[in-house]
Symmetry: C2
Subunit: 358 residues, 2 copies
């Protein structure tokens, strides 16, 4: 679709996109604080007027919204921290988005540029670049949504978590929780590329089969089976796990702590088991194992490595093109279905990276 290019002095409403005037946007707002498990009616999809952009701002037409379990946390009250503020009620839900600049009063973000960054569940975003992380150099050989999936939040989280914190070596045993999720589905494959033996934890027998067949995990654990997870881990890795890439937290983390090899690294990536909890997180009782095993637990955020995004995206692209890395995606059509898709994902009913095609 052609995009009308206008000068700095020509910004006015209505915006013209492909020659058509656009005065309205859509957004999905947080209606109330969820009480335990999130429900689609905690949100509202609504149409709003699109205001003009101001100084240094630019207008992005979002193509895809990223669904990231981690954002669930900030929907609850009192969750402001070093990364995000508690999400306000009645406002569009914060999210990572992928879109194209279609109007700009900011010379660093010219019309036509593809950007990936922090905005919200909305059709159009008006931003000033302070929350935007990167202008993409789009490779036409790849579907654009990959920049929000294997080359986006999921891929960069898997990449930096594994390589900066996990420090994989050939022969290491790598355990991954939520192994079929957006991040986990990539961590297992990256671990295999590094010569690790991989064990994926998931919630159904069917998903476990998929982990082995499609994502090439060496072994899987169904955490809903009767046998305790710690016992299942010990059966598969009697000498302990060298790396635990944890997306789940809570009791699963506590059990994995019982099974560490010497000098193990725990990559603290997510705690999806805890986001829906009201009250304090599940108490971790086995932290002392970090001492007896001289092991390390470390948190990170992919966004801390923004300077290294180009290099990481380059490597991940190369692996995709070589066919050695395949990031499964589950794309929901229509912004109006965003809340439901997010709830399905948190309930563990999805596979791979979840996106919404606006």
């Amino acid at each position: 679709m052609a995009i009308t290019r206008r000068t700095r002095h020509d910004i006015r409403q209505p915006y013209l996109i492909g020659g058509y005037p656009v005065t309205k946007s859509e957004q999905v707002v947080l209606l109330r604080r969820p009480d335990g498990a999130l429900r689609p009616d905690d949100f509202r999809h609504e149409e709003i007027d699109l205001p003009p952009i101001g100084r240094d701002q630019f207008l992005v037409r979002n193509e895809y919204l990223s669904l990231d379990a981690g954002f669930r946390k900030w929907m609850s009250a009192g969750t402001s921290d070093g990364y995000l503020q508690e999400m306000p009620l009645g406002k569009a839900v914060q999210s990572i988005v992928l879109g194209q600049v279609i109007e700009s009063l900011n010379p660093r973000y010219p019309v036509g540029a593809w950007i990936m960054g922090r905005a919200a569940w909305e059709r159009y975003s008006i931003v000033d670049g302070s929350d935007l992380m990167t202008i993409l150099e789009v490779d036409a050989a790849l579907p654009i949504y990959e920049y929000l999936a294997t080359l986006g939040t999921a891929g960069l989280t898997a990449y930096f978590g594994l390589f900066k914190i996990g420090l994989p070596k050939r022969g290491d045993v790598l355990l991954v929780s939520a192994a079929g999720g957006g991040v986990g589905s990539l961590v297992g494959q990256l671990g295999k590329l590094m010569g690790c033996t991989t064990i994926g934890i998931s919630s159904t027998e069917e998903k476990c089969r998929w982990l082995m067949d499609e994502l090439h995990y060496d072994h899987t654990i169904n955490y809903r089976l009767e046998a305790p997870v710690a016992q299942q881990i010990r059966d598969l890795a009697p000498e302990g796990i060298d790396i635990f890439f944890d997306n789940v937290g809570g009791d699963l983390l506590d059990q994995a702590l019982e099974c560490l090899a010497m000098n193990a690294r725990i990559v603290l990536c997510g705690a999806v088991s805890q986001y829906e909890k009201t009250g304090p997180h599940t108490g971790i009782t086995n932290l002392w194992q970090l001492v007896t095993q001289r092991a390390r637990a470390e948190g990170f955020m992919f966004s801390d490595y923004v300077e290294e995004f180009p290099q990481a995206i380059g490597k991940l692209s190369q692996w995709i093109k070589e066919g050695t890395l395949h990031g499964p995606v589950e794309i929901t059509q229509g912004i109006e279905n965003t809340a439901e898709a997010f709830c399905r994902m948190l309930a563990g009913k999805t596979r791979g990276k979840c996106l919404v095609k606006v």
Copy 2:
């Protein structure tokens, strides 16, 4: 005291020490598994016959026994781990000791050598060197017990924990729990040497004053005050703590996790609050703070760095002689008083490094 030197073919009982025959030793054994807080009558001091040494063995006359809170853990049932086995009942309690070789069938440990290593609460140890960590090059300018204190378990634990895991930088805020203990009393001073602002946590107002007056802590926190420790930390360090050197674990660790600066390092050294617990450790609910603060918790054992002992001991000796490092010690006289001294230490009633002069 002169030590009779004999050849390999001359080993027989009685051993002659200073010309006098020695046929008996003394030891302190674990009589029963403690139930909660340790009591002196969980142990028994007893006289035993001293057997002859066998092939590759040597006889050490222990001068000092080190009291280390960490060993409390292995007195309980089911505590075998990557570091030590559960201590057997009726046997001398395992401990780090300092002594001199007085008979030897092991050429690597000649008569007269001073050794520091793992043995037990006993007057004489018969060992083969496999558990002995180091032969000391004794500096006559320092009291010999320093090799079990500031140059021994306490100093090496403080040194490797702080420098290998804590990674102090000028201007860092360093929080230390059990700040007046054998390790903590040194960590604070080493932190000051590195240009850190130091905060020591202790259990009484009197001890807190001592921390400031004698150990040069910049600030102190009495964890028994009504104000929550997290609030006290925030008042002293509104921008958070960069390093937490933790000897206590449990609730104190959980509260400190709420007060981390970005990229903080938690040195997991001890968990004295947990050793006396029956059942699981206190659940840590704030581990997620490691993610939001991109922080790290890591365990270690000083004994992992045995190759670097000479260098560490050299530096620590230099600081002692320069008068910039002062390791307080509390020496109990007589092996028969070992159990009582150990219980006093675990109850938080001692100051600095606790030793027993055999």
